[in-house]
Every structure is written in structure tokens, then in C-alpha cells.
Amino acid sequence: MDFISILSIFVMACFVGYYVVWSVTPALHTPLMAVTNAISSVIIVGALIAAAAAGIGAGGAVSKWLGLIAVVLASVNIFGGFAVTARMLAMYKKKDRPVPAAQK
């Protein structure tokens, strides 16, 4: 892919982001931050490439370990971010819905 097609995707995605985020209800702004946090850890893709490239390249060994540490950090974020978002979203209830008796 050339630079212009990538840039086009980026600019379009910024506009999509703009409109989608304005449609998020203010009551869910905290879960929004938690979930954006989780998805920005898609940077794990880069970490996996570095970690998997052990056998290739000159700086392979150091690069591999940096990649592995980045995989750990990004995984904390991915699992933690989605789990905490799910936990928060499960708490938002409408009126007149039976409240679960057992609290964790």
C-alpha cells in the first residue's frame, strides 16, 4: 500500500471516529475511555511481529525481548480493559428491572 492510500484510511477513520464518539451518551464516557484504552492496545500487532522475528535480522534478539515485554503490557491492557468495561456496562440498569440479589 502506498502512503496516500494509508493516509486516506487514516483521515476517513478520523471522521468516522468524530461522528461515532459524538453519538456516545455522556453517561457512558467512563466505559468509553476504558474500551478505547483496550482497543488502542491493538499495538500488540507490532509487539507480536517483533517477538516472532527472533530468527531474522541483526538486532533480532534484543528486538524479540522488547517485543515480548510489549506483548505482556498490551495484553494486560486488552484483557483488563475489556473486562473492566464489561464489568461497568453490566451495572447500567433501567428502572423496574429486578436487581440481582447476589452482589459480588
Binding site: 484504552n37 499495538i43 531474522i56 505482556v72 494486560v76 461497568m88
Partner: protein, 494 residues
């Protein structure tokens, strides 16, 4: 200078992952669809990770046959990668399960720092081993060893990626320390800090530009070091109540860092996600700034609240005010037709949300209509109060935003302010000299009676401004710890 060819199926899979992330945010437009949205996010992430593992499976060269090479799956490395994911998953899930809802701002700041650090590490790995990322040409010079020349365009992307990542990391660490109380919330002001900050920023940009001409390691690592420093310098002078803006801003940065690395790797999932997260954080910062009637620049410049708080100390005027007891409050509210509860950061600190919901239930049993009014900057992050009330099982259709409920105070019998101050201050509407003038506030003073729960009369709000509501005839101050006071009111309501 052709980029390493990308498997079209992999490119398609990354695109699908990107679309899943868009749908994840789209789901948050209402609580009813939000959980489905979160699941879309998980699906998108799974697609991205699996695609990467399949297309970049770790390989070992075992033999060279003719003019080709024979590769075999490197199971040791694969196991290491899976172990790394496992360790991260265990830490992440454990934290997510254990964390108290009141600590959510700290947790989000901590998570931002991890994204920042991951971006730094990935950029560093790409710099050290550009071949693995397909962003370099092998150059055989006339004299000396052959080496890999990273494409100039990739150098800019990589330089920006590591800079934004490092700023996100050190900035988030400071934000975390401030929110978690390990570091005072008061702004720390260095002399000449604007000059220092601008110089460092200019140096970073200059070095990124120079990096395209010369890929020496010292340039790369200097960019990294300066970026860590500037993240620290930028956040240290910003006070506690401006944290909603800071947390949103760092949220935005973590997105731009991911996008920059997406450009380096030509990965659509990363670019789409980075753009989404970047604009999301930027919009939240804008909403928070607007709710405080302050410009983004003035928040970033920092120091708000420091000057006002010191100048106010000496000139305290004694004005008459009324003190009430829990029994008085219980009686007034049980006789009311409608009560609007205005929670603020103090409620979070006192962990009073459960007691508050119990009070709401008791009042409803007395036939009182109970509503909650949320100011956009109440608490330490966007939507903080909503999450706490949701945690305490307050139905979300009883919770209203500022613009939806502000007209109702005039027809309300009791406004119950708990742990909020500046967001109720009428000086924002009338006093042009007030530092908070122009900030949209909740019109609590229009209610027939205002009950104001506060720890003591001594402390002023974060902006260091006295609140006229305390001294009005129809105000009754309830001086106590928020949680204890609410619990006593609950007892008196029986």
C-alpha cells in the same frame, strides 16, 4: 524500494478488525446496546491477534537448499509469546475484577501508561530490527559492513510513534500518581516552564526531521529521552480537578501513538483504531474544557487553582450560615414532592454512593420523586459519577445531564448537594471577576431548599472560590463526612 508484500487475506482481516472497533464504540450510544459493542471490540481484537500470529508465525531457518531456505516453526518462541499473553491476561483480569469503581480514574491512567510504553517498545524493536518489519533496504556500501537503511518515511513515523508513546507513558504515570494520591494534587510550578517545554518540543520535532537524514542510534534515543521528559513536565503543573481533561488528553495520545505505529507497519487495524481512539480522547477533552469554560491551552499551561487558593486565605469574611442535622434533612426531604441529588467528587472520596441509593429508595417509599443531576466535570474523569451511581444500582433513567435537568430546579423542593461545590456556584453566572465565570453550573439555588453536605465550612472548592449558596436563607449546611451523613439520614427516614 517496495514495501514487503502484504498477504491480501491478512489485510482484509485487519480491515474487519478495524470495522469491529468502530462498531464497539457505536454500541456505546446507549446502555442497552453497549454490552454488544464491547463484545464486538473483543472479536476485533481476537481477529487482529490471530491474523498476526498466523502471518508472522515465528520461524527458524533450518537449512539452505539450492538458492532457497528451509524454515520450520519456532515452537520455543511461539510458547514464549503465548506465555507473555498469558501473564498479561492474568494481571489484566485480576486487576479488572478487583478494582473499586471509585478508583477507575487511576486505573484508566495506569492503562494509558501501558499503551504508551508498549508503543515505545514496539518502535524501539522496529528501529533495532527493521528487517522484521519490512521497512528497510539492505545497503552494501563501498567501504565497511552492509547495513539496513530504514526508509525515510518510516523513520518519521517511527520517530513520532516513539515520541508520542513516551509522552503518553510518562504523562500517564504522573496522572496516575496524582489521582492515586501518591503525589499531591496541587499544581507544581517550575519557573520558566513554558520556555523549557516549548524548547524541548521543538528539539524533539527537529530531531525527528534530522532522523530522516541520519539514522544514528543517538538521535533515536535522544528523541525517546526528551519525550519521556516532556510528558513529565507537561502534566506535573496541572492540578487535580483538571484531571478529567488530562486523562482524556492522554487517552487521545495513546490513540495517536497506535496510529503512528500503524503507519510504520502499514496496518489498517492499527490506523483505524488509532484514529478512533485519538478523536475520542480529543472530543472528550473538548467536552470537559467546555464544561469548565476554559480553553484547552489554559488547561495544558497548568497552574489553575494555585494562585486563587493562596490569595483567598487571608481575606475570609464571616458570613452567617445555617447548620442542619440529619433529622432536619430527613424531615425536609420526606415532605418534598421532588428531590434532585447533585453528586460530586466528594461523594466518590467518601464512597457514599451505596448509602445515597438507599436514601433514594427510602424517599421513593415516602412518595418522593428522586432524580440525579450530573455536571460533566463532576469527579475525576468523564462519566465518573454515572459509573458510581450505576455501581450502586441507581437506574440510569433517573440520572440526568446538566442541560436536561437544569430547568427543573425551580420546581424542585429540595436540592441535595453531596461532595460537589464549584459546579453549583452561582458566581459563575453573575460575578465577572470570578475565576469560574462563564462555566455552566447547576442552578441548585433555585430549589426551595438546598441541603449542602460538606466536611467543614473551612475548605473552598478546587477553584478556590467561596460559594454564595452556603449563605443563602434557603440553604442548610450538613457538615459531616458524606457517607456518615447520608447513613444518618437513612436512619432518620425509617
Amino acid at each position: 524500494m517496495e514495501h514487503a508484500s502484504v498477504n491480501p487475506w491478512a489485510a482484509l482481516a485487519y480491515l474487519v478488525a478495524g470495522v469491529c472497533f468502530i462498531l464497539a464504540l457505536r454500541g456505546l450510544s446507549s446502555p442497552a446496546t453497549s454490552q454488544r459493542g464491547n463484545r464486538m471490540g473483543i472479536i476485533g481484537m481476537t481477529i487482529a491477534v490471530v491474523t498476526t500470529l498466523v502471518t508472522h508465525a515465528p520461524m527458524l531457518q533450518v537449512a539452505a537448499i539450492g538458492n532457497g531456505a528451509w524454515f520450520e516453526l519456532d515452537t520455543v518462541t511461539l510458547i514464549e509469546i503465548l506465555a507473555a499473553i498469558g501473564i498479561g491476561a492474568a494481571i489484566g483480569l485480576f486487576t479488572a475484577r478487583k478494582i473499586a469503581m471509585t478508583d477507575m480514574p487511576q486505573l484508566v491512567a495506569a492503562f494509558h501508561s501501558l499503551v504508551g510504553m508498549a508503543a515505545v517498545l514496539v518502535a524501539a524493536a522496529a528501529f533495532l530490527n527493521p528487517q522484521a518489519f519490512g521497512i528497510a533496504d539492505r545497503v552494501i556500501p563501498m567501504i565497511g559492513q552492509p547495513f539496513f537503511a530504514i526508509y525515510p518515511q518510516s523513520r518519521i513515523e517511527m520517530g513520532l510513534g516513539i515520541a508520542i508513546g513516551a509522552i503518553t507513558f510518562s504523562g500517564s504515570v504522573i496522572a496516575f500518581l496524582k489521582l492515586n494520591g501518591n503525589m499531591g494534587g496541587a499544581p507544581i510550578l517550575l519557573p520558566g516552564r513554558h520556555v523549557i517545554n516549548l524548547t524541548v518540543l521543538a528539539a524533539i520535532l527537529g530531531l525527528v526531521a534530522y532522523f530522516t537524514q541520519d539514522q544514528s542510534p543517538w538521535i533515536f534515543w535522544t528523541i525517546t529521552a526528551l519525550s519521556f521528559a516532556i510528558g513529565f513536565l507537561l502534566i506535573v503543573p496541572i492540578g487535580g480537578a483538571d484531571m478529567p481533561v488530562v486523562v482524556s488528553m492522554l487517552n487521545s495520545y495513546s490513540g495517536w501513538a497506535a496510529a503512528a505505529m500503524g503507519f510504520t507497519l502499514h496496518n489498517t487495524a492499527m490506523i483505524i483504531t488509532g484514529a478512533l481512539v485519538g478523536s475520542s480522547g480529543a472530543i472528550l477533552s473538548y467536552i470537559m474544557c467546555k464544561a469548565m469554560n476554559r480553553s484547552f491551552i489554559s488547561v495544558i499551561a497548568g497552574g489553575f487553582g494555585a494562585a486563587a487558593a493562596t490569595s483567598d486565605g487571608g481575606a475570609k469574611v464571616d458570613r452567617p450560615w445555617k447548620r442542619g442535622s440529619a433529622e432536619d434533612a430527613a424531615f425536609l426531604m420526606s415532605q418534598a414532592e421532588q428531590v434532585i441529588i447533585v453528586p460530586g467528587y466528594g461523594m466518590a472520596v467518601a464512597q457514599a454512593q451505596h448509602a445515597l441509593r438507599e436514601m433514594g429508595d427510602k424517599l421513593k417509599a415516602h412518595g418522593v420523586r428522586v432524580k440525579y443531576a450530573i455536571h460533566p466535570v463532576a469527579g475525576r474523569m468523564p462519566g465518573h459519577m454515572n459509573v458510581l451511581l450505576a455501581e450502586a444500582n441507581v437506574p440510569y433513567d433517573e440520572v440526568f445531564e446538566l442541560e436536561d435537568i437544569n430547568g427543573e430546579f425551580a420546581q424542585t423542593d429540595v436540592a441535595f448537594v453531596i461532595g460537589a461545590n464549584d459546579v453549583t456556584n452561582p458566581a459563575a453566572k453573575t460575578d465577572k471577576t470570578s475565576p469560574i465565570y462563564g462555566m455552566p453550573v447547576l442552578d441548585v439555588e433555585k430549589a426551595k431548599t438546598v441541603l449542602f453536605v460538606k466536611r467543614s465550612m473551612g475548605g473552598v472548592g478546587y477553584a478556590g472560590v467561596d460559594n454564595d449558596v452556603f449563605y443563602m436563607d434557603n440553604t442548610m449546611m450538613l457538615l459531616a463526612d458524606a457517607k456518615k451523613m447520608v447513613e444518618e439520614i437513612v436512619k432518620s427516614l425509617d
